[in-house]
Symmetry: C2
Amino acid sequence: MSESTAVWLWYPGDFEIHQGMLQNFKREERGMGWPAYWYIDDCNRNVKFTRTYQLGQPTQFIVHAIGTGYVAVNEHKYRFDEVINCETGKNDIEIHVGNVSGLPAIYIEGNIVKSDEGWLASNFVTSALSGHDPLYTRPDQDPNVIEYETKTVPVASHKSVDNGILFDFGRAVDGTLIVTLAGPKTITLCYGESETEARDVEYCYYKQENVSANSQIRKRAFRYVFVPNVTDGEVDLTAIHEFVPKLNPSSFKSDNSLINRIWNVSTETLNLCSNVFFIDGIKRDRWIWAGDAYQANFINQYSFFNEDIDKRTLLALRGQYDIKQHMNTIVDYSLLWVIGILNHYQMTGDKSFLKMIFPKMESMVRYFIQQTNDKGFIYGRKNDWIFVDWSEIDKEGTVSAEQILLLEDYKTMLTCGKVLGKDMSEYQEKYNQLYDNLMKYFWDDEKSAFIDSYESGKRHVTRHANIFAILFDIVDADKQKSILKNVLLNDHITQITTPYFKFFEQDALCKLGEQKRVYQVLLNYWGGMLDRGAVTFWEEFDPKQHGKDMYAMYGDPYGKSLCHAWGASPIYLLGRHFIGLRPTQPGYATFKLTPKLDEFKTLHSVLPIKNGTVTIDKDATKLTVTATRDGGSVEFNGKTYSLKANEKTIIR
Amino acid sequence: MSESTAVWLWYPGDFEIHQGMLQNFKREERGMGWPAYWYIDDCNRNVKFTRTYQLGQPTQFIVHAIGTGYVAVNEHKYRFDEVINCETGKNDIEIHVGNVSGLPAIYIEGNIVKSDEGWLASNFVTSALSGHDPLYTRPDQDPNVIEYETKTVPVASHKSVDNGILFDFGRAVDGTLIVTLAGPKTITLCYGESETEARDVEYCYYKQENVSANSQIRKRAFRYVFVPNVTDGEVDLTAIHEFVPKLNPSSFKSDNSLINRIWNVSTETLNLCSNVFFIDGIKRDRWIWAGDAYQANFINQYSFFNEDIDKRTLLALRGQYDIKQHMNTIVDYSLLWVIGILNHYQMTGDKSFLKMIFPKMESMVRYFIQQTNDKGFIYGRKNDWIFVDWSEIDKEGTVSAEQILLLEDYKTMLTCGKVLGKDMSEYQEKYNQLYDNLMKYFWDDEKSAFIDSYESGKRHVTRHANIFAILFDIVDADKQKSILKNVLLNDHITQITTPYFKFFEQDALCKLGEQKRVYQVLLNYWGGMLDRGAVTFWEEFDPKQHGKDMYAMYGDPYGKSLCHAWGASPIYLLGRHFIGLRPTQPGYATFKLTPKLDEFKTLHSVLPIKNGTVTIDKDATKLTVTATRDGGSVEFNGKTYSLKANEKTIIR
């Protein structure tokens, strides 16, 4: 926020918590609402904003507020929306706003006194710098209302089928419909992400009955709409897609058109799943899951580089200061949330966000520590969900995957605390104890891998903990090699079946230099979805499934989300591990490219960095790299090349 | 709730917390909202209701809900408002309701499956028996909306004055107005609890401008309305008073008509200040204060005997389980809240309410213990308000009045815990330590009284701690006498100036047998207000003030509330200490009357007891006492008389 511009202000985190709550109540299924099944915080109802001005001259201001309350200047009270005069000298300003059903917020218009940086907000317990969001900068707005931009999407094609008309919009739409009817008729709208679903009048996920020309059509996600019992010409539809606009500085074009399509469909998928927050999917669940959001931001870093969505999502997930339960009830999701802040900081170098969220990080980690045993191992309590993944994991007693995440959380606290100049020695001790015990109890020398559980005595090995150990640099090069051989490339170890963990697995494989393998996965898994006509990437894909079976999940014939954020992971894999771009200091103050582009003959790609972009071109003879900012370097074939802002570096 | 009747259900405490929040945002002053200046909880947004039925036959039911969600029967989902069929056998029913802005609630219609006693409600953290309220028993209701009954109040008199018309409704009204205008004019409504206030067009507390015949008139409290710049006949007003009806089993008629009027105006005052909750005053603050509510329920016990208002108020004050700060920010108010539950239990014998609220009592007392020092003394922390009273009290270090309240809180925990069969030995130890240290550090042998503070070394004595010591039986008969002589009847000790503490003082004086003195206070203080034309009792009364000055308080010319709940305390003093009725076992299983009626020649009074009444008559020769229930006794002139249900006991 620039010093000179007024914005809407609220108690920090409250906008995100309130809108996050609304988001988690937006799920719909077959005429039923489906609120998320966990404890959900809301914003504070009662907020006091304060600031003291030392005025060198008289000035005027007007306070607009969402809620009931008043303004006090030096203890004299004024109404909202009236011109208030301030005299020269000290002016203590207090603004009280209560809102019984939504977000209490203020906007102050004035030359000197205005709602810019410097206002404290208090919920009468804790006081901190007010929160704000770049979406809310005008006095005529209400931060309780998301202002979506709309795009008219005409029908791409339609056909008469099953005694009705099937409309195909040719793309995934998240929005409403304009219904034009030839006569005074009421119709039924049957939606589908797939044609199969839309034509299933009985079981399609979304359906609206008794629709007339004036009906309010609920916002839904779909590509197809089937209208039964009408003939061609009786009904016409236009879709109104809703979105919060964002920039996309990235692009990717190689000699492999399939990979190019995978990149573009990935971009479309993440784009649709990220308006105000990173949600899991646009049809289902429409919820904010910490695990999904964690991955979405890795993808975001190589495409939209949208810091705001990530900040909002982190704040919404965490809720109010007091912790009632783990995020989405899942212990590992809370653990990932903490690491996500480290990633956000590495990506953005945003110290003021770090400072703002740090108390909530600390209380989160303290919450973990309260559920560690004498060895420092975190365990699940009643009602805690030790998820890790949908996989056969031996979860008796404490579980190795959770310990590795907790180690990374301690590391996050050490790194972030240091940035803020805090004494973090307590976390170093916790780290050391946990690290030693992890290696002592969970590393199995004979299997040369981490076992799930040591308490069960079964010494069962799954990929998950071993993948985390690679990703979070828990083991040395020798052990990395053992894990690659004994676990990741060992067909006797149960395969990862969920795209959620496939993300981590591909990430780990690339980290260990297995780009060639991962490239084939991109072509087969994501290319396979394109073969089935995907316009966005799915929650899950099994090449063995065909026809109606492709769309079933969770025991529901159309339970599968066909536009799911984590489906966009090729962007991250290509950007991070093939082009090989990463920040080496927070906010890309320094950054490095380690290109591994053997699979491509030619490539032109632009990737975001903080406040800039990097462009990489490959042709038959050379690599050309240009960054719009200083601080970059390229490591290629054992040599290091420094980048200078806006100067081409050519590597042959 | 009878087993056979369906009612609206919610997460326990949530109705009261949500409505309490709304209540605390209802204050208005000169066109401004004035939200209460403390942290305010709201209800849970997301609630799951569960119950398992073992059905001997198939049955049907319909779920109505306020919010979004669904019903699941044995994991099969159904919509709200649709007929659901259950088969014979085990039926696990789950109902999920999310409400983004109000109270999530359900009502189930059915013969077997219905929303009666036995449904658990969970906020996904804690699960407990659902809450309900006798106000919400019909499926067409919405517990987010208070259904006020209305009473049309015609103008009692009007007069032309100050170039306008002054309307006097002859009574305090809390409601709206119907405005009838002779022509197409807009007018200004200036409200007043007093004529002086209404006629003060500039400074009156409530004013509505630009009122036309169709204007929505905000609900306000007033007796007078002045309309400036109109002539007689141009405007007519009718008041619509709003109230939640309640029974009043009490009456009081003596040979002293002034005392009779004091009783009746007290009844009117408490009646107006208690609809859903006990609030402090109808014009101002319209807030729920724990200290005020504590006293209101003592008065309630001798008039309306309304258990529901007391329960709602206790729940609203306490808020959600996690404690953010002291009630109304005041440490002594939190302390009084705990004692208030003991009083509620003594009055009602309601074990199920005690069981429901007990976890919140325990966490409240644990919150106190966290702020005790090594002597067991409770101290104020940053942002804690050690109030006691508006009086010159030496508040250096720990303060005696707070310790006496904490002692009574421990006693409350011992008593209530015992009722619920819990081990309370921890509180006995705390009690003993605190008692010993209170006597050691705060009892001053030389002054034969409790001093405010021992840490300051000033040995300053005020009435407050000494009054609490009498009321809560902290001292023996000898020390009681010392306190009476050296403090209560000692004119060198600063007088109590607030009606809030005057309540406790009169209570203590009566307890020490000073009814004659208190009778004079009734006549002078409350009679004095009647002399000034009061139709309800005021927040404060100073006989030395006259004219406009009578209405000023807190630096505001009309800051004084002229209908203030604690003004009704004569009811309690007369019922408890003159008629002398009190329960000797919870819920009046046994009860006693110790009449001290020397001031009355004749008296006829009916007072409530749990599930009944007691009638007492005095004439020149005898006392006649009748109770509608067994368990009572009368102690009079050193003799004890047992009462039998509905049989007159005549005492000569």
